[in-house]
């Protein structure tokens, strides 16, 4: 925190409405007991009110009810009248402490030498704008990228970030979609034409595969856990025995990055035993015959060897999934952070198809109806296909990632941020020189932290827009204090469930993301694209289509005349064989191959599989370490490992150890537990002082989605140096 005056402030609000001890003691000798009595009674009750809002710290969007005294949140509870029926987790509880944290940024900061100086907003916006215009002049508009983080996921402001980029002239907008959920969404859409939402509540068998909803989606924990407690089946597939796995009917402690093989193996058993839904497969799928060749080699014995699972468990799971349906499968990032992410989720989706569980109650719901998606439109959930007048002119340049991951670009219409470091350092595909971070901290959360740090130094302009000074903010040229989602003046009515109702005004001199974005647009001379005062006003403006892209119309074939679509795909059916994948040069059928870089006991240098990134309950990625009530749950980073692994490495529970990968080394404490698969080391991500992404890199990516290999790296454990 070199020179950041913002952090050197006394804790706020300890006793705003209370008499301080010193005042009391001063009063006593002079005025005697009468005065003391008056002082004890305090200066009168503060103005207190209750407001409801939506917690958008995660996508659970739980209703909250806050008690507010004199524009300070003093207490937050779940709102029993909301859809979440009163549920909130520790993050919602901590909203008060997040909003009023003494660590919040107060004023815009400008880097001067090695330290920051506070500057006024107008100066900050003008200086950033003039540097951006200079960069545009020298390198072209595509030299700017705008990247948004978890804090903005699902927020309608994304349409306007895209609008900002297009009006500046750059195609490079990126989001957490570069490494979160998109590989699954692409895989499901390539297969069914839509994202698949597990319908756990009505399923007879629920499968939670590479996910830990209790930690990452707490609001849904009960729905998932109820599968086990209601006497239905719950299968958990995870290299960590999570709390949910403890409750499960069947826990498969799988070797990471063998999930694709397991899915193919489950299909092998199901088809061999004739348990698949023949009518459904015949009526609604294409490519079943071709699949049979693929699954042939994935017999249970082979798959048991690949996955480290007992053969009997594989067969048992296959029969349960097929016979005791409807089966819904919740897939998580545990399947997506590998170099075969998209194909793995495709295999799981096809497994559901064989069992007749797609677009079926108790299986998976498909939010996109047949015929609803227009050719060439980006996938749902990211950007609306419409924008208000005037539409910014089309952009000739293609976003970063277009050449390497054309399908990712076609589906998402955004840049693949995992290639930013390369673009900055090697000017491939073209120079990237300016990066605006909206609530993102890539130096901690993106793969290849060491390389990204070097890249950050080479940037001509790095701007961090965040309520807190993050690791990425510390190396930025400008840091702009953003209000949290719970702040704003005057409080407008909630525009969408995802745009929360503010509880209190912007803290200190922070501004809402909307105010910052439009302020920047105006400073750049793009104000005519942002004529609205508020986001609400902007969302209400009439809209016209703007995302149509003739090139991507190729994503869909036309149905033959007279043919009726059952699924929103090109063929109108579930595509076991994907012609889209084929056209883009990928394997049109699901498959599984050994990873090119494999850990194992035969490797003296890296005998262990590195699993980085699983979320604990405490933090959301790199957020909230400044909040004491949250930090109490997880005061420091740990590396989970099996007792046998620890024994071999000479590590004891709680001891400081080092985890070393080909890319770097971090030191943290060992958490020795039989819950972790013996071949793995599970390292939490998000800590700037033991940054798991120093162990990862940006070179190995899933060829279809560009997703990083967070959960199947290689590593070893050795004693700490200190």
């Amino acid at each position: 925190m070199t020179g950041s005056g913002a952090r050197n402030v006394p804790p706020q609000g300890r006793n705003r409405s209370l008499v301080s001890r010193r005042d009391l003691l001063k009063a006593l000798p002079a005025a005697g007991l009468v005065a003391a009595g008056a002082a004890l009674a305090g200066p009168g009750a503060p103005r207190s009110s209750s407001r409801t809002s939506t917690c958008r710290i995660c996508r659970g969007l739980c209703g909250v009810r806050a008690t507010i005294e004199d524009d300070r949140v003093v207490r937050v509870e779940g709102d029993p009248g909301s859809d979440s029926r009163g549920f909130i987790c520790l993050h919602g509880m901590a909203l008060r402490d997040i909003i009023h944290s003494p660590a919040r940024l107060r004023r815009p900061l400008k880097k001067e030498g090695d330290s920051f100086r506070e500057i006024p907003w107008e100066q900050a916006l003008q200086e950033i704008a003039s540097r951006l215009l200079d960069i545009r002049e020298r390198f072209g508009p595509q030299a700017l990228a705008v990247h948004s983080g978890w804090a903005l996921v699902g927020h309608p402001i994304h349409d306007f970030l895209m609008r900002f980029c297009r009006s500046f002239g750059t195609p490079n907008l990126s989001t957490v979609a570069s490494l979160c959920e998109t590989a699954a969404r692409m895989a499901q859409s390539l297969t069914t034409g839509s994202k698949c939402r597990p319908h756990i509540a009505q399923s007879r068998t629920a499968v939670v595969w590479g996910a830990n909803p209790g930690a990452s989606s707490p609001a849904w924990e009960r729905v998932v856990a109820s599968a086990a407690t209601d006497g239905r089946n719950l299968i958990v597939i995870d290299p960590v025995r999570t709390d949910l796995a403890e409750r499960a009917t069947l826990h498969l402690s799988i070797r990471p990055r063998t999930d694709g093989a397991l899915a193919l193996g489950l299909m092998h058993v199901i088809v061999n035993e004739g348990l698949h839904d023949r009518t459904y497969v015949e009526r609604y799928t294409v490519g079943f015959e071709a699949l049979l060749d693929r699954i042939e080699r994935f017999d249970p014995a082979t798959v048991a060897g690949i996955t480290s699972l007992p053969r009997e468990s594989i067969e048992k799971a296959a029969r349960m999934i097929a016979r005791e349906g409807p089966t819904s499968i919740w897939t998580g990032l545990g399947l997506e952070h590998h170099d075969d992410a998209t194909q793995t989720v495709r295999a799981v989706t096809i497994l559901m198809a064989l069992c007749g569980d797609l677009a079926v109650r108790g299986g998976a719901a498909l939010p996109i109806a047949p015929g609803r998606r227009r050719d060439g439109e980006p996938l749902p959930c990211l950007y609306g296909g419409m924008t208000p007048h005037p539409v910014p002119p089309p952009i000739a340049a293609r976003p970063i990632g277009y050449d390497d991951f054309p399908l990712f670009e076609a589906f998402n219409r955004e840049a693949q941020a995992n290639l930013y470091a390369r673009a900055i350092l090697e000017d491939r595909p073209y120079p990237l020189r300016a990066l605006l971070l909206f609530g993102a901290n890539p130096l901690v959360t993106a793969p290849g932290a060491a390389k990204l740090s070097r890249a950050a130094e080479r940037l001509s302009l790095l701007v961090s827009i965040d309520p807190f000074l993050t690791a990425s903010g510390r190396v930025a040229d400008y840091v702009l204090p953003a209000a949290t989602f719970a702040e704003g003046t005057p409080p407008p009515p909630a525009v969408t469930p995802a745009a929360a109702h503010p509880l209190v005004p912007e803290q200190h001199d922070s501004r809402t993301d909307w105010a910052i974005l439009t302020g920047l647009a105006k400073a750049l001379g793009l104000g005519h694209y942002f004529p609205w005062e508020t986001l609400e006003e902007a969302l209400q403006a009439p809209r016209v289509p703007w995302m149509a892209d003739p090139e991507h119309a190729l994503l869909s074939d036309r149905l033959a005349p007279g043919e009726k679509a059952s699924f929103p795909t090109a063929s109108g059916k579930i595509e076991i064989f994907s012609r889209t994948l084929e056209r883009f040069g990928y394997d049109p059928l699901p498959d599984w191959q050994e990873p090119t870089r494999r850990a194992g006991p035969d490797r003296a240098d890296y005998p262990l599989i590195l699993v980085s990134g699983p979320r604990g309950r405490a933090y959301v990625n790199s957020q909230f370490r400044q909040i004491p009530a949250i930090a109490a749950s997880m005061p420091g980073p740990v590396a989970g490992m099996h007792p046998e692994t620890a024994r071999r490495a000479g590590a004891a529970d709680g001891e400081r150890i080092a985890v070393v990968s080909p890319h770097g080394r971090i030191e943290l404490r060992a958490w020795v537990t039989a819950r972790v698969h013996p071949e793995c080391v599970v390292v939490q991500a998000g800590w700037s002082d033991a940054n798991a992404n120093l162990l990862t890199d940006d070179a190995e990516l899933d060829p279809i989605s560009g997703f990083p290999v967070f959960r199947s790296g290689v590593c070893r454990v050795e004693p700490a140096r200190a």
Binding site: R14, R22, R85, S226, T229, S633, M634
Partner: protein
Amino acid sequence: MSDGGKRLPPITRRGLLVGGVALGGGVLSLISPPPAARLRPPGALDEPDFTRRCIRCLRCAEVCPPGAIRFATSFGMAGSDTPYIEARSRPCTLCMRCTQVCPSGALAPIDADRTVVGAKVRMGHPRLDRQKCIAWQESGECRACYYVCPYAGAAVRLDGRQLGPVFDREACVGCGQCEEACPEAALAITIDPRNGAPS
């Protein structure tokens, strides 16, 4: 806050000592209210050793990041100005800084390591009234105590179809996060101070 207790801003100790000496104990002890059992900061000695050892220097409150440590102003020197925590409005976040700055040994120093804290700290013991608990009564969706618990899984786990909380008296450190989190409509959780003795 019903008892007139206060959270403290960072203030100089010298000013306090001057005030304290000037006031003396005599006059103020005349109006002592009856003391009540209180949750002490982590590492506190048993009563009455704690009250005897504490020199009322306020350092524990000064370093407390959430401002959880308060001082009673009971006007009776016996219990006056010894630190306590009112979990309902601001519980302990287990950073152990108070134990490390305590100059008198009234709070025994404890390493901030999670395992050490889990083993050594016993500020109080949780008591759950299932009749009031939203999860057990299925009157809404609530697992707030479980989610805020720094030792969730050990000190409190979820049980039954309702996923209702079940506390482990022995594993709980008594920080009070759950008592604060328990919704106003329920108030089903109380941390009974370990000492149970008057402060």
